[in-house]
Symmetry: C2
Subunit: 415 residues, 2 copies
Amino acid sequence: MPRLSVFIDVILAQKLEGGLLNIYKQDDYPHKVFLAYRVCMTNEGHPWVSFVVHKTRLHIAQDPSLNYEYLPTKGMKSFIQASLELLFGKHSQAIVENRVGGVHTVGDSGAFQLGAQFLKTWHRDAQAACIISSQKEPHGFIFQDMGFKVYEYCIWDTKKLCLDPNMLLDVVENIPHGSILVIGDIFNCKLTQSQWTKLMSTIKSKQLFPFFDIPCQGLYTGDLEEDTIFLQYFVAQGFEFFCSQSLSKNFGIYDEGVGILVVAALDNQHLLCVLSQLMNCAQALWLNPPATGARIITSILCNPVLLGEWKQNLKRLVENIMLIKEKVKEKLRLLRTPGSWNHITEQMGTHAYLGLSHQQVEYLIRKKHIYIPRTSRINFTCINTHNVDYITQSINEAVLFTSGAERGFPKADKP
Amino acid sequence: MPRLSVFIDVILAQKLEGGLLNIYKQDDYPHKVFLAYRVCMTNEGHPWVSFVVHKTRLHIAQDPSLNYEYLPTKGMKSFIQASLELLFGKHSQAIVENRVGGVHTVGDSGAFQLGAQFLKTWHRDAQAACIISSQKEPHGFIFQDMGFKVYEYCIWDTKKLCLDPNMLLDVVENIPHGSILVIGDIFNCKLTQSQWTKLMSTIKSKQLFPFFDIPCQGLYTGDLEEDTIFLQYFVAQGFEFFCSQSLSKNFGIYDEGVGILVVAALDNQHLLCVLSQLMNCAQALWLNPPATGARIITSILCNPVLLGEWKQNLKRLVENIMLIKEKVKEKLRLLRTPGSWNHITEQMGTHAYLGLSHQQVEYLIRKKHIYIPRTSRINFTCINTHNVDYITQSINEAVLFTSGAERGFPKADKP
């Protein structure tokens, strides 16, 4: 009799990631384009790496005095300190008061995993996790596996072609009392001062627990402080919150898992208790976080010359992103593509909505071999001087040859 | 009224790690010694790093063609392949039959976390995890947090001063049917062929699921194949099992989390199902494992010249470990310290039991500022030419000035 496998009941898991990328890879068409990479791409189609990172990596490898011992579970102390100063500002009152701290994690998934584990044990009022973002987030599964009821909201208005502050406020009004409120990538949602006040008072009155996701500080405006200014509102109001801070995308260190779970508490005593419990969780998850990425970033953040160069790198990168968006818009204008395309340049950051209907997206994928997500939220750094003409002509075709009903074209600003 | 903290119920977690190290660090005594580091130390008291690693790290930093994109969730394919070949041998039948595979993890804790998560979901018969090792393992908490009943067994016989194969067999006889059987660091437990046969037949009949822990292949005998030969027995017998393979200690890359969870299944079909589910878990844990350590190791394993140099490094390291053990034994003999000290050189590897009683350990810590764990299992690479005299004289004192009752001295071989 043949032996039965212990694994006889294990079924093949559905792939959660890479579906579109896999189809793209199998496509033989010579002009195929993939517009959904997670990382910034250069004009040559390679992942962008800050020049300062290359230099620092080499410098570190040449340093014979470095110690390669295990990091403590909490991670690299200088890295955490430098990252907190980056996030809140060097002279942040919260840092002075010792009521913000962090645990070095394996990327932002690690930060969400750690935070969710903690909240499951220590914030028992929270039965649900509500994730609000410009896109449906990949972190929902983490909360779901942990037993939270998960609600994911996208606040992109397909009619008005913008991230709608009123949608954001509506969602917050209607989610369950006491929920975890994951506030993802909403930089482009332009709240007025009174909308901010309303948002914060709702969060307070409903006892929601904010969990921010800062995936790429500096890549919106090119200015590090301006990109996280909304976080300052919450700090100033004395909110307690978690924040996942990833430093992969703004340094171009994608393969090192450089994340931090940041904790803001009312005072140092509570902070220390929370950090100690987080370290207990981290001990079971990975015991020691990886060092290379953190070491490179800390070297840069703590050296004024390197820091200055990195900031220049960031600025140039953001200028290039804006240039490519302008170019796309201009080319669509010259092609007399129906509709207004102002929303392209109104959104800041690497990723932005093209504002196409599902049918138009379908057209681009099937007929033009241009792979973009169903939401039409693409990575604009994947568009470069070599493919911009093909892409804009294809968008023009898609718009002309399909119904825009689903998108609900607004009239063009200037007819 | 002052605001109440969300974290009001969070208590300060007890520190699980570093207790002894912290006391050592606070000690001002100039000749204090810490003999419980996890990593190999050089004669100068620094963490050992294979020279080939330094060279390769520099080479990698100088390579402008490298891609720093996120690794896939499964990890670096070439790293996994090279590690499997290291573990099972290049011409392993199991590799040829495609029934062994692996997922790149963040260190060995990551491998245990991943494996335990999988087993909790997919091996529901297993209610308990039994950990057998020369020491009580740090992985127990991982299984405990996951809801397993955990039993940890140390098979060091304090009377006979050896790892006792009969204790091992007894434990396996008596643990619950269907348990996960974590087989830790038991290289020094010398089973006869018939004892191996008995062990394997008990595992089979009791439907135990083996989960091996290979923390430092090559650091016992200096020969990579010989160190994992017991794994070959299980592979040859067609066992299904998990194995945590860490490559930190044998390369001297401690701060990068270079681990693998290895899966051995009956056939490729079952293997693929298990790997797909493991990837689902890894996606929520860290999404992408860190690359630097894996890249360095793969470069070495796949280059015959570097591989040869690394093997030489390992051999020299193991020879030095044996030399320092011989020196300790010889010095104790010259000091006429009561008891036989043959067990020191009979144990292979960096860590070995001194075979002292709790009272003697206490004496060394309190009176001599020599910090060693209660079990007296120390890292022999922490002993070097600078401190060996102080350490052996102190052991001699401890033995003379305390009762050896607890240790139960056997008579010395030669009176």
